[in-house]
């Protein structure tokens, strides 16, 4: 049977037998922060692209078919899956005193909030991310960011966070808080982010 004939047969089956059954469904949900989002459903070379909240598609023998879902339908079918969603990651930023390996006064208070966020979660894992300003090349800044992150990791361990739950990584100068050209000293870019999840 050619593909065209197969499609005609599937269409006839749909119409005559009511067998145009969906084998799977996807529904795009509203984003928490209202950002636009996109999802594509592909079956072979046939594709539908979803871009609006509650835009949905069914996989059918004739390829993806888009339709409009609703909050009610999502809750009825996906309520259990959504109820099991883990808490989103919480992120905190600590700044260093200019030229020192020591936190600013405000940042010391942030540490208390980090510890209570860790205590709130049943199985916390913590990622400490070192960031630098743009003075120096990537290799230098990756190492510097790692060193910053490691020192904060050690501090968290001293404060009672189990070592196996905390990991230190570096983003170097790839994620500037304050955009600057290369080679600019900027204290607000020299920071450590603590992600609790």
């Amino acid at each position: 049977m050619t593909e065209a004939a197969a499609r005609a047969f599937a269409l006839a089956a749909c119409v005559l037998l009511g067998a145009c059954a969906s084998s799977g469904t996807v529904v795009l949900l509203p984003e928490k922060d209202g950002r636009p989002s996109t999802l594509a459903m592909k079956q072979g070379d046939r594709e539908v692209v979803l871009t609006e909240p509650y835009a949905a598609a069914n996989a059918t023998p004739l390829g993806p078919r888009s339709y409009r879902s609703s909050a009610g339908e999502v809750e009825a079918r996906f309520g259990s899956a959504l109820a099991a969603q883990p808490s989103r990651a919480a992120s905190f930023t600590l700044y260093f005193i200019e030229g020192k390996d020591e936190f600013t006064e405000e940042s010391k208070q942030v540490v208390d909030r980090v510890l209570s966020e860790i205590a709130r979660r049943p199985v916390p894992d913590v990622l400490v991310v070192g960031h630098t300003d743009t003075v120096g090349n990537d290799a230098f800044n990756d190492a510097l960011g790692q060193q910053r992150a490691e020192s904060v990791r050690s501090a968290l361990i001293r404060l009672g966070v189990p070592a196996s739950d905390v990991r230190a990584i570096s983003r170097g100068k790839r994620e500037l808080a304050i955009p600057t050209p290369d080679g600019v000293a900027e204290a607000r870019n020299r920071r450590v982010e603590i992600v609790v999840r």
Binding site: R35, V74, A81, L82, P86, R88, V123, S164, R171
Partner: protein, 147 residues
């Protein structure tokens, strides 16, 4: 060998050394209700809260089960009852945020909030169902497979 290359090589070795013992860990079970198991290398492993996940793990829920997973790139996956989710392929570099994540929902229902991998590059995260492939481009969505 240039100095910068040598330095990068030393740094990458250093980063390997500081990685935790379970370097193959790609995510963690954060929520586990009712019957939930992980199939790993042909064996069934209990899926208690806190269990670390590896590539090729298959997470299964029973009729009263549901499970919530946080991946290393902050992707959140949660499955409802009678579901089967395979973590087929996963790679993530936290420094560059480049990576690749392919999972399959063979049956049941799944809710997804995509993470750093999908945000960093288009077409770097997919969810397969028996009939279709979903290309994720930074998004929250739900997927269901019909019996």
């Amino acid at each position: 060998m240039s100095i910068s290359f040598a330095r990068a090589a030393i740094l990458s070795i250093a980063l390997c050394v500081v990685a935790p013992a379970g370097a193959a860990d790609i995510g963690q079970i954060k929520v586990s209700k009712g019957q939930v198991t992980i199939e790993r290398e042909g064996r069934a492993v209990p899926a208690a809260v806190g269990t670390r996940l590896q590539i090729a793990d298959v997470v299964k829920t029973g009729a009263n089960g549901s499970v919530g997973i946080t991946m290393d790139d902050d992707s959140l996956l949660s499955a409802g009852p009678n579901s089967m989710l395979s973590l087929d392929r996963y790679a993530f570099d936290p420094t560059t945020r480049n990576g690749r994540f392919d999972a399959s929902l063979n049956k049941g229902t799944l809710a997804v909030i995509s993470g750093r991998i999908a945000k960093q590059a288009a077409d770097s995260m997919t969810i397969r169902t028996p009939a279709a492939i979903l290309g994720v481009r930074g998004t929250e969505f739900v997927v269901g497979v019909n019996d």
